[in-house]
Symmetry: C2
Subunit: 378 residues, 2 copies
């Protein structure tokens, strides 16, 4: 049986519910089970080994709020829309939005698991990551495994262990993993071009699982922007395209030449800059390959089309330029964040893609995702 | 008399010739006159108060070389094409290229004068800046003041002094100044949104002179890229669009609302990312203006169209999207750098703009520049 799709969103977020870790840690770590502590006004996770409680930002739990109500201030679970944390309520909100599938990123561990990865006691950190991935399969995605594709997190400080964990969770039904936008900013983790990543590249190729690299999922990705003195709007404006540096690193590193089956999704990065960027990458390679001692013997744009996928919420310029990248672009609804198109995703699709050919719209809205995520769809 | 133009390039570079400062410094600094020292293989400026000799990179003196010959290694003046440093030879090279005008950036002092700005003895630093600007008018642009528009440098550590110097050199015929891409990285200089810049904004509005902000003209603009582990190609690929952060800062700072006559040119940044970027800026402002406490009450894209101009060497994606920004884009030939279109600028224009309307091509190739640089042209 193949499923019929209309919209597959490849960028959304889980707000992890209280009790997630209860009973999921091995005996020796049971007394270090992370706990959610709620006051009348806010909610924060307390994790032994993590310096500060982790508050859920109001900007990350904004589903159902008007722009005028957005605030970074933490809120209680009672003040959130239940779709934030309850997978069955999430499915209802997806129905309201006309969205068949969401790929959901973690929030409490960070978009790529950095909060756990940085814990000093690595045995405990690994237990947390395994427990999180187990919960993702057994509780979150279990509400409808075809519609909620939870993105796994990996113990990146130990690439062999990360490869083992990837294979383990793929065996349990996981269809996608997260990777960070700036691995080199994480203590104990090397930049993507470093050969230490080989076991992870091998495991990704073997399993056929795509890796989603969400914007600003490294540590201090955009720290330089603060110094420019312009405030939060500049950060919000610049955050999506900050993934350009990550994509450039992958293109020029040689990884995609050595591992042609790798599939990376640049999540929430927008798409309108892509034609400029791959043209610039080719110009760079053509003009500078001799003195730079390039690691690639094909054009960067060919490697992009082979291995890089990019998603967007709202991007008219990108839709206008879709013919440059029609097999490499996807939608994301960014539920329940402030930039989300929910509950107006159908309207956004109509406004931005109402006048394009059905086959083109189908590729962007679901067909490319079916192929990249190995879904059973038509 | 108005002049007829075909091509105005708004991004090129001077390689400063030996003897530039000879006899140009006040008596008290005469014994600290910077000197060019040549060996058989290289050339470097020695400036008292600057730690290391400043070599002229081979990548900045590549005019006439093939891609296979590009090298960062310094070379002697004898090994360079004379158009690098001799204004009369430059004019001949412009004729070969079918280019009427070049806006030329400094090299020895850095693209925005940072080498001089960072000298501790500020009286000496100011003397160097004045001497440089005097040479620019009296020797460089003097070869043909209508065709060689030398870009001034300013003593940015003292905004009042910078405003005075701007008025002084405009009185001598200067038509454009440089400003850095990341002022906050320069010791003693504040970020653009800081009110200390007001005297400079006032002087720019009063004189009507545009400020060109060249990519990577701040200090350590792209230092984070090194850590990504991918080498020089990533830097070259990412350098143009790194000016996005500077443009975002200007748009959201409120400066362009308070000083609507300011004109900034984002130099060598390419243009293909602009439609994506101004759409993203508007989306950011519409969705986030309430919690961020925005400083602007109009859309960022309106401020962009009012005050920001962007130039490119080769950018098909940008030309395809020209209708989004037809009054705000210009050409640059980047002579004598590695990315330059010289001596094939006519071919590049034909390949990229051969099939667009004459009036559109005229705006991009020269009409916008006539307006922004207050030239006398038709």
């Amino acid at each position: 049986m193949t499923r019929e799709y209309q919209v597959i969103s490849t960028d959304d977020h889980i707000i992890e519910p209280p009790g997630l870790f209860d009973g999921r840690l091995p005996k020796e770590f049971a007394d270090r089970t992370p706990k959610l502590v709620e006051t009348e006004e806010s909610a924060a996770w307390h994790i032994p080994g993590v310096d500060k409680p982790i508050e859920m930002s109001g900007l990350g739990t904004a589903a159902g709020q008007k722009e005028e109500e957005f605030s970074p201030k933490s809120k209680t679970f009672g003040a959130m829309r239940a779709g934030c944390y309850d997978p069955r309520e999430r499915l209802k909100d997806m129905d309201i939005d006309g969205v068949d599938v969401q790929v959901t990123f973690p929030t409490l561990p960070g978009l790529a698991g950095l909060t756990f990865i940085e814990i000093e006691d690595k045995a405990y950190a690994l237990a947390l990551i395994r427990a999180y991935n187990d919960w993702l399969v057994e509780e979150w995605s279990a509400a409808d495994p075809e519609r909620l594709l939870g993105a796994a997190i990996l113990p990146l400080w130990d690439p062999q262990e990360a490869a083992t964990e990837l294979r383990r969770v793929v065996g349990k039904g996981i269809k996608v993993t997260t990777l960070p936008s700036a691995p080199q900013t994480i203590p104990g983790v090397k930049p993507y071009p470093n050969e230490s990543w080989e076991p992870i590249w091998d495991a990704l190729e073997e399993t056929g699982v795509p890796a989603e690299i969400h914007i600003v999922s490294g540590k201090n990705d955009l720290s330089a922007l603060g110094a420019m003195g312009g405030g939060a709007e500049i950060f919000v404006c610049m955050a999506p395209s900050s993934n350009m540096a990550t994509v450039a690193t992958l293109l020029f590193s040689g990884i995609l030449r050595k591992h042609p089956k790798l599939k990376f999704i640049s999540a929430e990065s927008g798409i309108g800059w892509v034609p400029y960027f791959i043209e610039r990458a080719d110009y760079t390679h053509r003009k500078h390959q001799f003195w730079t001692g390039t690691k690639i013997d094909v054009t960067p744009s060919d490697l992009f089309r082979q291995s890089i996928f990019v998603n967007f919420i709202s991007d008219r310029a990108g839709v206008e330029l879709r013919h440059h990248m029609l097999d490499n672009i996807m939608l994301g609804t960014d539920y329940p964040h402030t930039d989300s198109s929910w509950p107006n995703t159908q309207l956004v699709i109509k406004e931005q893609m109402g006048d394009i050919e059905d086959e083109e719209r189908a590729k962007i809205c679901w067909k490319n995702a079916v192929r990249v995520f190995n879904l059973n769809g038509s």
